[in-house]
Amino acid sequence: MAAPRIGVFICHCGTNIGGIVDVPQVVEYAKSLPYVAYAAANLYTCSEEGISSIKHAIKEYDLNRVVVASCTPRTHQPLFRNACADAGLNPYLFEFVNIREHCSWIHMQNRREATEKAKELVKMGVAKARWLDAQEEFESDVYPAAMVIGGGVAGMSAALNLANQGFEVHLVEKEPELGGRLLKLNRIFPINKDPSELVESIVKAVEGHSKIRLHMPAVVKAASGYIGNFDISVDEGGKEVSFKAGVIIVATGAQVLKPELYRYGELANVLTQLDLEQRLKDGKLGEFQNVVMINCVGARIPERPYCSRLCCMTAIKNAALMKEINSEAKVYVLYRDLMTYGVEFEEYYREVKEAGVRFIRYTPSNLPQVIGAERVESVRVYDELMDMELELPCDLLVLATPLIPNDDNEELSRILKVPIGDGGFFLEAHVKLRPVEFAMDGIYVGGSCRWPADIRESIAQGYAAASEAVIPLRQGLVKVEAITATVDPKICKGCGTCALVCPFDAIELKESEIRGLEGKIVSEVNTALCKGCGLCAAACPNGAVQQRGFTDMQLLSMVNALSGKR
């Protein structure tokens, strides 16, 4: 291996860095560091000019490592890696030092110390760079099929989208019919229409699609493999069916909470909004004169702190319907806060109010009380706005309850190795930047299994997940960033600690086939499964397992550099 020749590029970032940090001083300092063959400043390293100066210097000074000290690797690392690659240098021989977000921008009042800190950060980056190795990215083919779990409106939308783009889709639904929660609804807001129209058209399209293979009723029993190459096994009506898929979309929906509040289940005239819809749908509601609806039942409380968002609109929709059925009826909606976001909903709310539905605000410290022995006879509520207690006659009490995670989320999370967040809903990779995919490559998410979503959102998320999932399917090839784990079989003692801590089951104990070590039980990393977290490397007692790009040598060198050691 050639001796390291490190090139260091310090970015002014206009005045963002240069206005605070004494860049020329940092450049001079960089030149004094071990193995640094070249150091220079750029006005904007990410500009055309900056990039070409890196490429030029790599050739001119025969550099075999590049360090850029500028902004954050989270946004600019690919750019500079590509610059290295263009100049014929393996892109993994590049190291990023952040002297903007982590230095100049946060120490604007202290130029001298900011400069000292920038020097030290550069020193650490150079120390790591000295130990960088060239890496090859792992590539694998993508099997051109998808599995969509959940035959609700989100899942069906995703399946149709993928199928229409020409990819085979396995749609797995646990119930014996497609449609999901929508099947139970009476009307849908804000258009106040029977949902069956909508459902039927989608279901028909799905069932008639030559590219969609339905598994129903079926549940996923096992899934192994990685992006492009999942092996899936489902239990389809008692028999096991296996197939391959390149990507997976999770759209399993959610369920409505059945509360243990307001004597639900005890008194016959206490219903949830979903019960009400079912009765309306079946024509079994019967007579009513005084309807009280309570919102936020079992939601926004310490054990379930989130707002389910949909229930306000559901209550408004059904209150309007009550008025429509019996214009003489008195309809009260007791709410804490009303969630009528967007353009149409607020308008709809106003219309309902005009139609005579009365809205009364209650507070969680003063919950409405149900009066009655056999049936609800009245509801007592403290009206916060009027500052008085009201007793509302009531022959039908309807509770708006939140959507809660499905009971089988945990099981599915375990099978797919995708995370569940605080409330029990699935957790996307990034709340803002990666809303419809999991951290686990090749698995995507949409609809209410991620967070309570209405029909429109569910469809949109289904499409969104499909459009993300189609990228690897279309490309036919996936690459894995070369920060995955490696094992030195000579040192590995086969204790299996790494395999125990791996969240992705990417490490197995196997008999070595390497010459001289035949038969020795050692750890082996399946690079396609490895996500590059490095847990194994930290857990390995003797450094046999290393994470590329974050080796013990590299991390220790940075720590030592910071400590003034060379």
Partner: protein, 145 residues
């Protein structure tokens, strides 16, 4: 280079922070973007997951004479790799107690949770830790070998 040789009368600690790529490092970036001003004593090393940081590295850093070491990771339940921070948490509990047992003050090794959205928290943690360690004074276990 002149001013670097200036005699420093007050104690300036040297603190190392391992930040996971997905939460804490992003949180630190956000602190930068938000221009939250903070003490200059903390240096960040980026790792993909807080679970990548082995105890050897913490112990080595403290024995090298660094005045404090932090691991900053995703809040429990939010690990990009599902469970890395839970393992970090277990290790940190044990290590912190062991360090304290031999007289390294607990403040010198900290595990804190900083999400990608918590730029303000990152800055608060930096300030708080810097203050605490400044108050403690230099690390006793110094070594330059």
């Amino acid at each position: 280079m002149q001013d670097t040789k200036e005699v420093q009368t007050e104690f300036k600690p040297k603190i190392l922070a391992f930040c996971c790529n997905w939460c804490a490092y992003a949180g630190a970036d956000l602190a930068g973007v938000s221009r939250f001003q903070m003490p200059t004593d903390v240096r960040v090393i980026r790792v993909m997951c807080s679970g990548r940081v082995p105890p050897e590295l913490i112990i080595r850093a403290l024995a090298n004479g660094l005045d404090g070491v932090m691991i900053l990771g995703c809040h429990p339940g939010e690990c990009h790799y599902s469970e890395g921070n839970y393992l970090t948490r277990r290790r940190a509990h044990v290590l912190k107690r062991l360090l304290s047992y031999i007289g390294i003050e607990p403040e010198r090794f900290q595990l804190r949770w900083v999400s990608a959205a918590e730029g303000a928290k990152f800055s608060a943690v930096v300030k708080e830790t810097t203050d605490k360690i400044t108050a403690l004074g230099p690390n006793r276990w110094v070594d330059k070998r």
